[in-house]
Amino acid sequence: MRSVSIPQEWVAQARAGDRQAFTLLVEAYQVPVYNLCRRMLGNPGEAEDAAQETFWRAFQALERYDPQRPFATWLLSIAAHYCIDYLRRQRLVALSLEAMPDYHDAPDPAPGPESSAEAHERERRVAHMLQTLDPLDRAAIVMRYWYDLSYEEMGEALSLSVSAVKSRLHRARRQLAGVWPESQAGGLARGGTHDAAPAV
């Protein structure tokens, strides 16, 4: 990532009760928060609801926010915990590829030569890989590969020790390495295309 930089006054103003300042924070962090929810849940509608819920919880907990911590990490922590709890409640860990919903993302403002079908197929494969992971392992992988968080930041966000974060990342990588050939075979069987082009 992919980091978002915001004026520090926004956070202070939002904590002082300025709703407009909080709305600016929502605008600034909507993509990172939504992306985390989307990668965790795999479903655009649920991701939207989860992102809205994340901002609502953050809004209500602003008084408890420690300004010494990065605001983005705090927000991502709320989002990750919400998604993990949601997944555990819904028992969607073993969601099958056939059950994956269609994607309805906002259109790419500058579409490249690749067809959108290929992009969707790539997203489907990434989503499928992530869906095979335990929710907490998935959160660790998402934070590592989309947000470049350090082990310490991940541990803080996920309420884990650094060694537990490393252990979960290792387990998740081991599992993803095993999943990829299956995902590729599934994609070939379904779409008949072999997507090797780098994304975006």
Binding site: M1, Q30, V31, Y34, W56, R122, M129, W146, R173, A177
Partner: protein, 179 residues
């Protein structure tokens, strides 16, 4: 069976390997098909993860957030209002039950209730008489101790405060309270 550790650990490590470790791993991969498959699988999976973009919500997310905030705050206020109303109703119901029970027992036994009421009235009258007696004793004692000038000053001061209060209330009544 060929041992896969520490090669599997190295394959999935997030940090760079030392030259010695890299050479050992390369040598192991030439001989071990399982680790070769793991390396290929992870390389592809990691490439996919690193290439995947940040997904954005549909346009108008902040506007939807503002609508969500407004709706939730209304719901929260409504819930609080229902809570206060519920507690008030519960309190009122408890009081009504208590009073109803008392009224019912009075209706069922009016003589007993009348005696009870009379006892209360006698008790109140006795308490008032006792308080009056104590008050007079205190006033008489103080009158003997305090000089007459103090009483005059006390009466004048009280009259001044009452006059001030009356003037203020009259002005508020005539002019109203400005916001």
């Amino acid at each position: 069976m060929m041992p896969h550790q520490p090669f599997e650990e190295w394959l999935l490590a997030a940090h760079d390997l030392s030259p010695t470790e890299a050479a050992k791993l390369e040598s192991h991969l030439r001989e071990c098909s399982a680790c070769r498959a793991l390396a290929a699988g992870w390389a592809e999976a990691e490439r996919r993860l690193e290439a995947a973009p940040l997904l954005a919500p549909e346009q108008g997310f902040a506007e939807r957030w503002q609508a969500t905030l407004a709706a939730r705050e209304v719901a929260q206020r409504r819930w609080q209002a229902w809570l206060v109303l519920g507690l008030s109703l519960a309190g009122a119901s408890a009081l009504a039950v208590l009073l109803g029970w008392q009224a019912l027992s009075s209706l069922l036994s009016p003589a007993h209730a009348a005696v009870g009421l009379l006892q209360v009235m006698v008790w109140v009258a006795a308490a008032v008489a006792a308080a009056q007696e104590v008050g007079w004793v205190l006033v008489r004692s103080l009158a003997a101790l305090v000089p007459p000038g103090f009483w005059i000053a006390l009466v004048v001061g009280a009259a001044a405060l009452i006059s001030l209060w009356l003037i203020t209330m009259t002005r508020y009544a005539i002019q109203g309270v400005r916001q």
